[in-house]
């Protein structure tokens, strides 16, 4: 689960959805929050983390990589 989005901090601004180079993040319309849809396709580039204005994104490296 590389990017973990803190739903309490996420304001649903959509910047991570706009910028993710792999198109892995979607917007949950009901909750109005960003949601990681394809965690297995993450490059761990950190764009979502860097660009989040609320610091709601944490990169959690999966077990296989540690």
């Amino acid at each position: 689960m590389p990017p973990v989005i803190d739903e309490k901090k996420c304001t649903g601004c959509g910047i991570c959805y706009r910028n993710c180079p792999g198109d892995l993040i979607g917007m949950n319309k009901k909750k109005k929050k960003a949601q990681v849809l394809y965690p297995d396709e993450c490059w761990h580039c950190g764009v979502c983390r860097m660009d989040c204005p609320e610091q709601a994104v944490t990169i959690v490296f999966p077990l296989e990589m540690l």
Binding site: N19, C20, P21, E41, C45, V47, V60, F61, M65
Partner: protein, 564 residues
């Protein structure tokens, strides 16, 4: 429910496919040529796409400072040596090497901090067999949003989230491209006077040790689309069998090796011995393909694991490494170290050999063949950056992008009309793109893509043989037939299916050329178990790949003395 794809047709003068470092500079260079319409089709979002989407900390550059190693000649010699004479240096000089200083100045003028603000000087470091400190360490975390902004400022039309799958042809001329929007599914055709491919590397074709295929050194979203589209359109490609890999932290295929080597870290085996002196007189300063070969030998001969040792670095150097270099080259590098419990001041960093890829790194010699103007062997089709032969690293992407953008724009300005392509060709592509969505049953795309990587690793991997490559090619052809059964649930998945089609073709090109190159060359780039020695008498040159009759792959050999 998925929305039904709408059709969009765009008319432009110059179409640039790919909005990474090369594509951005191509758009900027093109707009300087006069009043023409420039369109960029980008698969992701232009401000964060490509290999440097999340930043870069170093730029390979000579600066003509007056030092003997700091000239066009010295950089050309270094490049010639690394690429073993397989690249026409005249082309590299015109499109890339002679433009580097200009590119550094341009980046600075865009507001990127290229110098140390305290001294006003460039911070320059040496690694990878360079005759002098060719890497400028710079503050490049935001290089991509800055470049994207420069593109937009110039009135370039940027369409994000478009996966381009096919070049449109009018006879033997390229007249644009077709693809689809990976978010809303809309089918997009662009008619253009000239078309420029700036699609980057071909990654994700080989597995890596973590078992996570998108955990790659260069961007995993670079799927060799330009290579594949150019080949299908009849363009020549070279040396696809000479692949690249690097050394990465165990478990994490992250960039950063140059930073460690440039700051004076060493490589040691499990006995605590430095082993690179046995491979090259410059030891850890050796070219990258020898660092990987040296490490490969240590591992295979039973002296592994291997490590980067940075414990002897001064506090000042270490601070610089962990704050200014590693987390800029790869934003999440230090997060990884923290989660792994690693302290680089006290601990050895275990390393591994990365997955293999076709990438435009320094000394790589594979890709689309281009001439001194950046034109491919197909009329009106241009290419720049990592997908071409004579471009390397970020500096190559920026410089060839800029130069070839100018050339393609000049040609476009002299063409009165784009010209169309046959309607049935476009309809055929339309049906092919969306077919996986219509299947009620089928194989999910990750399974087929994993199978592709398995075949590449088993038969087109580390050590290749005649029989293995033949088997590999048979299996790749069988997989190609299996593409008719692949299923996609949505437009994101449809993008992955389209990417896999390109990867599969690139895999076939690699295997076909590797079978013809009956020698071993460039360290870990191409190792044949049945021909372990380098055979300059017969193979000092390039394997040229071109589409033959009935979708066959034709390979010819071009000796190096004919190239340079």
């Amino acid at each position: 429910m998925l929305t039904k794809p709408k059709r969009e047709t765009i008319l432009t003068d110059l179409l640039i496919i790919g909005g990474g470092a090369a594509g951005c500079m191509a758009a900027i260079g093109a707009k300087e040529q006069g009043d023409l319409d420039v369109t960029v089709l980008e698969k992701a979002e232009i401000s964060r796409s490509g290999d440097i989407g999340a930043g870069n900390d170093h730029l390979l550059a000579h600066l003509n400072s007056g030092e003997p190693w700091d000239t066009d000649e010295a950089m050309s010699d270094y490049y010639s040596k690394l690429s073993q004479g397989l690249v026409d240096v005249r082309i590299a000089r015109r499109l890339h090497l002679s433009r580097i200083k200009d590119i550094v100045d341009k980046l600075e003028s865009y507001g990127i901090e290229m110098r140390d603000p305290a001294t006003g000087q460039y911070i320059r470091t040496q690694s990878f067999g360079q005759p002098g400190p060719y890497f400028i360490n710079f503050k490049g975390k935001n290089i991509k949003p800055v470049l994207a902004n420069e593109v937009k400022k110039r009135g370039v039309k940027v369409l994000n989230r478009i996966n381009v799958s096919r070049l449109l042809m009018n006879g033997k001329k390229a007249v644009g491209a077709a693809g689809f929007n990976v978010r809303n599914g809309n089918f997009c055709t662009v008619r253009a006077k000239t078309t420029l491919l700036a699609t980057g590397d071909a990654v994700r074709l080989w597995p890596n040790a973590s078992g996570l295929p998108f955990n790659t050194w260069q961007s995993p979203f670079n799927n060799g689309a330009g290579h594949a589209m150019a080949f299908r359109a009849g363009a020549s490609l070279a040396n696809m069998e000479l692949t690249v890999n690097t050394l990465v932290p165990k478990g994490f295929s992250a960039a950063g090796l140059n930073a460690f080597m440039g700051m004076g870290a060493t490589l040691v085996n499990s006995l605590g011995e430095r082993y690179m002196q046995r491979v090259h007189p410059m030891a850890e300063g050796a070219p990258r393909y020898l660092l990987t070969l040296g490490t490969y030998r240590e591992l295979k001969e039973g002296r592994g694991p291997c490590y980067v040792d940075s414990r002897h670095l001064s506090k000042e150097t270490m601070d610089y490494l962990v704050t200014r270099l590693l987390p800029v080259d790869k934003d999440t590098f230090m997060i990884f170290c923290n989660q792994k419990g690693l302290n680089l001041e006290k601990d050895l960093l275990e390393i591994d050999i990365s997955e293999t890829q076709i990438a435009g790194i320094t000394g790589s010699v594979s890709g689309i063949v281009i001439d001194e103007t950046g034109k491919t062997t197909v009329d009106r089709l241009y290419a720049a950056g990592a997908c071409t032969v004579p471009s390397y690293a970020l500096s190559g992407a920026l410089a060839t992008g800029y130069t070839v953008g100018q050339e393609a724009a000049q040609v476009a300005l002299n063409i009165s009309e784009a010209g169309g392509s046959p309607r049935e060709e476009i309809e055929k592509e339309f049906r092919a793109i969306y077919a996986p969505l219509k299947r009620k049953q089928g194989i999910p795309y990750p399974r087929l893509e994993n199978k592709l990587r398995q075949v590449m690793a088993d038969y087109v991997g580390d050590i290749k043989t005649e029989k293995g490559l033949k088997t590999g090619l048979e299996k790749l052809r069988a997989l190609e037939a299996g593409m008719d059964e692949v299923k996609a649930e949505n437009y994101h998945e449809l993008m992955r299916v389209a990417e896999m089609k390109d990867l599969l073709l690139v895999g076939k090109l690699v295997a076909t050329a590797a079978a013809e190159r009956k020698e071993s060359r460039m360290g870990s780039a191409h190792v044949r178990g049945d021909y372990p020695a380098t055979d300059d008498d017969h193979f000092h040159g390039s394997m040229i790949l071109k589409k033959g009759r009935g979708n066959t792959i034709r390979v010819t050999f071009e000796p190096a003395d004919k190239i340079s």
